[in-house]
């Protein structure tokens, strides 16, 4: 069974305890943070376990890459201090259970991963995906399993992820283009954190799009729009790809508006927080995020993740901002029509 590569000496020498001090949902000073974190390292109970909203941000706040969030998830399960209602945990564990059904296209060495999200099949169409569109995988057998970070079920990840990696390799895939941000995060953050070897290259779809746009540079008509970027939870696990947002935007004439809830201070879509914590906390997160978008004068809100789209896109539209997925934004820039609409 894979084990978390957690180095407690790094935490011992840590002065800032940013993982907890910077948490957007816990109001801890450095001393309190140090105390509670030590409890977690020792395997003791701490209110942190049940207060955690699973926004993933502490993974980004830790300067040592010591995986504080993954440790929290492990401890939640060990101590049975669950982040989420039991019934929802059960639902998700059942929902994504592999069933031996391998749904694949004409898979080549380079393939698209639709994860477990059918609508990604519709997004990945048009000129930008022409060369690779026929080569794809989808379904529970290829599911990245990162979602169980929200459900205190690291055991499920440890059990299923190695098999998923094997399933992908057995298809002969050398480069997997991850259309879902979370999949890329799984192969580049979660898997290495557990010493799970990933024999293929996982490419973020941002990078893929950026390269494709450079290829079709002559087709680009600058959009000249101001956009708020909705930075989702899993980007916290892979902050190194954030620059692609700026790179793509520069190429297609989009301004990434500076706002309070972007980059390291981003707010997640709130859908999980609603389920885990209830109406008041969840809607507050969403309201602050949307108010911020309105305040900074956004014409568009660019989504990275389809799971953020569901809870937020309609509300974004109601506030007079056009929601658009990053793939659709790139498609728009080369004269194609968006696929995903409210």
């Amino acid at each position: 069974m894979p084990e978390l590569k957690f180095d407690k000496t790094k935490c011992a020498s840590c002065k800032a305890v940013s993982c907890l001090v910077k948490c957007q949902y816990m109001n801890l000073d450095r001393n309190e943070a140090k105390k509670e974190w030590q409890k977690l390292i020792n395997g003791e109970d701490s209110f942190v376990l049940e207060t955690c909203t699973t926004c993933y941000a502490c993974e980004e706040y830790c300067p040592f890459g010591n995986h504080p969030f993954y440790l929290i998830v492990e401890r939640q399960e060990e101590k049975n201090k669950l982040a989420a209602p039991r019934a929802l945990i059960r639902q998700w564990v059942n929902m994504c259970e592999p069933v031996g059904k391998f749904m694949v296209g004409q898979v080549k060495e380079q393939a698209l991963s639709f994860c477990l999200i059918p609508r990604l099949q519709f997004l990945a169409t048009g000129k930008l995906f022409e060369d690779v569109a026929a080569s794809w995988i989808i379904g529970a057998e290829f599911f990245c399993n990162a979602v169980y970070l929200h459900f205190s079920r690291m055991s499920v990840i440890k059990d299923r992820l190695p098999k998923v990696v094997e399933n992908i390799s057995r298809q002969g895939i050398k480069e997997l283009i991850c259309l879902h941000d979370e999949c890329y995060a799984t192969y580049n953050s979660l898997a290495p954190a557990y010493g799970i070897e990933v024999p293929f290259k996982a490419t973020h779809y941002f990078e893929y799009l950026y390269n494709k746009l450079k290829e079709f540079k002559s087709d680009i008509r600058p959009l000249n729009i101001k956009a708020a970027y909705q930075r989702n939870c899993s980007t916290r696990l892979i902050p190194d790809i954030d620059h692609f947002v700026d790179d793509i935007f520069k190429l297609i004439g989009v301004t990434r508006l500076e706002r309070e809830y972007d980059k390291k201070n981003a707010l997640c879509c709130g859908a999980i927080i609603l389920s885990l914590k209830g109406y008041d906390i969840g809607t507050d997160v969403q309201k602050r995020n949307l108010d911020d978008m309105v305040k900074c004068g956004a014409e568009y809100c660019v989504f990275n993740c389809p799971a953020c789209w569901d809870p937020l896109a309609a509300n974004v539209a109601k506030r007079g901002i056009k929601p658009i997925h990053m793939i659709d934004l790139c498609r728009l820039a080369i004269g194609e029509k968006p696929v995903l609409e409210v």
Partner: protein, 460 residues
């Protein structure tokens, strides 16, 4: 025999009577598990007067009469146990009148739920009636007569509670007005402030007469609607969850369900909570109240609201739910039947467990669901089992499962909804003797020749 046929032809016209093998075969059966019993004739009257003539003929010739809507109760209630004349009400399909201000609609006996829903949406978009989950071809009157339930039952009760007047042809042939319409041109009440005679006809499964017109209450139709699904892994918490939600008085409808497949639903209990509003603000307020009511369950991890994928939401909001009919083909066999005990909420946990037990014991695919009635005064719990119609052994196992479900239900204190013949007998065996005597008196008074759907509600 010949005389009956010829008279029926005179009453309704040759095209609307049949004694052919084809009609006898088809009308002898329903989609459920009951054994077939063929009628001698099937007749389709157009007017109340034609119905009256048919009943008079039946009285004169002592021929059984079975009124039929769409026959979708699934419990064999329109199968003519003793042959005779099946009166298929479908041609009495007029929507007679809508009184907007008083919010009621008068329909003839064969008007379907689907047509009424579409009619109101088109002509009176701010009014609605309570739509059940049965397919839209089910008739308003047929559904009321069996005390059906639907989208507005959580707020306003059984569909029979929503009646505000009747026109009935008695088994002895008199056309009788029931309710305010017996005195006034308005059909706003089925009884009060006078003696409530509607109880002589509602729930009697056609044994006390044929309802040719019915006035049904209408309710406000709001512009927006939404649904939340609360999930718990503990069935024993469901009664309290329902109590808390209904206390808010914020919701439209609540359905409770559990099923082993698809896997994402296995081993959990789900509450579909429907609410409506004319504005986003109203909708959001109701949503907030419901969430707040269940915050303690979220905090204790005993339950939570699931994220409904947008592609799933229309299925939940669909009313009637087309997907519910599709349960019938789960075994690639086109059949299901359910026993629907009406129970106080506190019995839900034991019934939910029993449904699983029966599914395992009889190796049948089960779906346990229910609808909250009138703010949780009671609920309809459904033990539904699906079967392959080409597999008689599987059908027999389903019968046994339903039988055991009914026995269990009665033992626990349930009263069985739209009971099959044997369920009626089970209930009569438990019933207070004076109550039985009263029912017998009423039947003898109204139907001295015993022609109306004989076999049903019959005491040996």
């Amino acid at each position: 025999m010949g005389e009956v046929y010829e008279t029926l032809v005179q009453i309704v016209g040759k095209n609307y009577v049949s004694n052919h093998q084809e009609e006898r075969y088809f009308y002898a059966r329903d989609p459920g598990l009951m054994a077939p019993h063929e009628p001698d004739y099937v007749v389709m009257p157009k007017t109340t007067e034609e119905v009256q003539k048919i009943i008079r003929l039946a009285n004169d010739t002592k021929t059984p009469v079975v009124p039929k809507g769409a026959g979708l109760a699934l419990t064999g209630l329109v199968i003519p146990l003793k042959g005779g004349i099946v009166v298929d009400m479908k041609r009495m399909d007029r929507i007679v009148e809508v009184n907007e201000g008083a919010r009621y609609v008068i329909v003839e006996g064969g008007v379907t739920h689907g047509v009424l829903k579409a009619y109101l949406q088109k002509h009176y978009p701010h009014l609605r009636h309570s739509v059940p989950e049965s397919p839209p071809i089910s008739t308003v009157v047929g559904n009321v007569v069996i005390h059906g339930q639907g989208r507005l039952t959580q707020q306003y009760g059984f569909h029979s509670d929503m009646v505000s007047g009747l026109e009935v042809v008695l088994p002895t042939g008199e056309i009788c007005k029931i309710g305010s319409c017996s005195v006034s041109p308005y059909w706003f009440s089925k009884g009060p402030p006078m003696p409530d005679l509607s109880g002589l006809f509602l729930g009697w499964l056609g044994t006390t007469g044929i309802i040719t017109k019915m006035s049904l209450k209408l309710y406000p139709q709001k512009k927006l609607k939404d649904v939340e699904v609360f999930v718990t892994d503990r069935e024993d918490l469901v009664p309290d969850i329902v109590f808390k939600i209904t206390h808010t008085e914020m919701i439209e409808d609540m359905g409770i369900w559990s099923q082993p497949r698809p896997r994402m639903f296995a081993d959990n209990y789900h509450l579909n909570i429907f609410f409506t509003g004319d504005t986003e603000e109203e909708l959001e307020f109701r949503r907030k109240m419901v969430w707040h009511a269940l915050q303690e369950y979220i905090d204790s991890k005993d339950g939570g609201f699931m994220q409904l994928p947008p592609e799933m939401k229309p299925t939940f909001l669909d009313n009637p739910q087309k997907s519910m009919s599709a349960f019938a083909d789960l075994r690639k066999g086109g059949g299901f039947e359910y026993s629907g005990p009406i129970i106080p909420m506190e019995l839900y946990p034991s019934f939910a467990r029993k449904a699983q037990e029966l599914g395992n014991k009889y190796r049948v695919v089960q779906n346990a669901s229910g609808r909250v009635i009138q703010q949780g005064h009671c609920m309809m719990f459904s033990f539904a089992f699906t079967f392959n119609r080409a597999n008689s052994e599987e059908m027999e196992r389903c019968r046994k499962a339903l039988h055991e479900a009914a026995e269990f239900g009665l033992e626990k204190g349930a009263v069985l909804w739209k009971p099959t013949l044997y369920e009626q007998k089970m209930m009569l065996r438990r019933m207070d003797q004076n109550t039985i005597n009263l029912m017998k008196k009423i039947k003898q008074l109204l139907d001295p020749n015993g022609i109306m759907n004989p076999g049903n509600w019959e005491v040996e």
